[in-house]
């Protein structure tokens, strides 16, 4: 639109007839179509979220006993899970791994992110730190995994061997920025400095004040960050793949299954992952509602 060329000063303008027609159109949409404004988001959600889930679920049911096209039992979900390949055991093992990784890395990321958020808000170099923290979010996850592996693994400092610890470390790296970005709006919206000063005039040391007053006030941001990081960790494949070694997480297992052409098993595991995430999210919500 010509008229918004530079923060409201008119440097370029459309011909009057066009701009009048545009205005009339804008007003029409704004007035008449308000009824539909609630529909559109719902439709978007339906298309992008619900439909894929339904499709996957549908396939699992179709392929349950046997491949519906060939009739071969080996092409059925049950066979692949409980037959010779015994994918079911792998699924259970992977679940354990995923949970441990997600919980540990998110918890550790929280412990790192909260002090970091405070530093970012209170020090002159805070903005700089915040910018750097965005890097893990930008670079491809596989590169992230590779860099972690090279630094901490056998070819580098050799402090951490491949496996679950490396996965956890990698997940911490991309969870911290997510946490920090969730905490900062909560911090800025809460007048934290004023409440802290208030607590200190009442006799609290700086640390006491943070613990008893500031932290409860940013609770919302922490919870949001926790959920975001947790779910991301559950579903992450890019970096996990590179660092995992023999410990496998559920999403990585799905990839493995697909490569081994055990598609029904992969479909089942995907559905399983969705169900697992929902259950865990539900639990987190119940805990934090208190």
């Amino acid at each position: 639109m010509g008229r918004r060329a530079r923060a409201f000063s008119i440097s370029y303008q459309l011909p009057a007839s066009v701009s009048k027609r545009l205005m009339a159109f804008e007003r029409f949409v704004s007035r008449r179509l308000t009824r539909f404004k609630d529909f559109v988001p719902l439709i978007v959600v339906a298309v992008t979220v619900i439909v894929p889930i339904v499709v996957v679920l549908n396939s699992v049911i179709l392929y349950w006993a046997a491949d519906p096209y060939t009739g071969k039992v080996q092409g059925g979900v049950l066979y692949q899970l409980f037959g010779p390949s015994n994918y079911f055991a792998s699924v259970l093992q992977a679940t354990l791994t995923s949970m441990i990784v997600a919980l540990t890395s998110t918890y550790a990321a929280t412990c790192i992110a909260i002090p970091l958020a405070f530093i970012i808000e209170r020090r002159w170099y805070g903005d700089f730190i915040r910018t750097i923290l965005k890097v893990p979010l930008i670079i491809p996850t596989s590169s992230l995994g590779l860099s972690v592996l090279l630094l901490w693994g056998s070819s580098g400092l050799n402090l951490v061997r491949s496996g679950i610890w490396l996965i956890i470390l990698t997940h911490i790296v991309f969870s911290v920025p997510v946490m920090v970005e969730s905490i900062i709006p909560a911090y800025e919206g809460s007048e934290i400095q004023m409440y802290e000063d208030s607590a200190r005039t009442l006799g609290a040391t700086a640390y006491d004040a943070i613990e008893t007053v500031s932290l409860p006030l940013i609770k919302g941001g922490v919870i949001t960050g926790f959920i975001l990081s947790f779910t991301r960790s559950l579903g992450e494949t890019g970096a996990t793949f590179i660092v995992m070694g023999r410990d496998v997480t559920v999403p990585a297992l799905v990839v493995n299954m697909v490569e081994a052409l055990a598609i029904p098993a992969a479909l089942f595991t995907s559905t399983y992952l969705i169900a697992l995430s929902m259950v865990l999210l539900g639990i987190i919500r119940i805990i934090t509602r208190r």
């Binding site: 007048e191 208030s198 200190r200 005039t201 009442l202 006799g203 609290a204 040391t205 004040a209 006030l217």
Partner: protein
Amino acid sequence: MPEVKLVNVTKRYGRIVANDDINLTIKDGEYVSVIGPSGCGKTTLIKNIAGIIRPDQGEIYIDGELVNDLPIEDRGIGYVFQNIALFPHMTVWGNITYGPRVRGWSPEETRPLAIEMLEMIKLSARSDAYPSELSGGTQQKTAVARALISRAELLLLDEPLGALDIKVRGRLRYELRRLVKDLRLTALHVTHDQEEAMSISDRVIVMKSGRIVEAGKPIDLYTRPNNIFTANFVGEANFLKGVVTQISDEGCLVEVADGLQLVTDSRNETVGDLVAIAFRPEFASIGDNEMSNKITGNVVDVIYSGSIARLKVELVNGDLIVVKKVLGFSRTGFGVGDSITVNISPRNILVYPYPKEGLYNELALD
């Protein structure tokens, strides 16, 4: 022993000098208010004393002890914030008992004190309420109780009534003073409302642009302000530019317009001085009587406000003055265009050297 003493305290924010070489002593048990326009540095002053910020220069003594390096929590003060700052995630009880809890006092010690505080502010029945459920006035009282429970002897109030309705402010301010006096505390109360300060303080300090302009008892600041800014900021005042034409033992004569000379009892001037004279609207009496200082003019506006009318009078040289009149059963009896004569006795005329930047700039509150 003076309770609070500031020596040459200066605080800068970039190029702005918020506190400029402040020297101040507040005596034990005094209720002192600091007033001034926005940006005059009064909040910076109180934050310096609290320890929330540190002065760039100068020393602050509380009860004889140098506190510059003492952290906030060790200064033994109670602080009430402008936006009340009750912890939203705690109940009234939680807020009030916060201080003792965080200082490690036992519940047995804290309980009776909290109950006493709640009694004093008449909130015993609502100790389980959250701040968001309370009215503004109640929140404010809770904040004060919270500040006082740890037996702090110095109470610092930063626009404590700012968030409240005018009517509630008018009531609560007397309760504040009563509380402070009953508990024998020393109080420093920052406000932009000069009426509030005048009605409850032992002493009032007027600040402008980082400096203390004047300090004194409310009635003295009102009747005999030493500084022209105080004359304008405290109460209402009319200002007229003039030249001193005669001096004598009893005072001086100031010519403010052609043919209009005012007799004053000010003895600090010399003939030829350029001055600004000030008098309060309430001291101008309407009518023609034998006293000296008769001013005539035309009424150009009448503004009613409850039981008082303010008459805007235009003098012969175009200057405007305001005269206040208490309304009787009728209206003032004056309408726009009417001619009016007022009298002011010499002792009610204040004389100041004419400000270098002109009256408008000197008195600007903006």
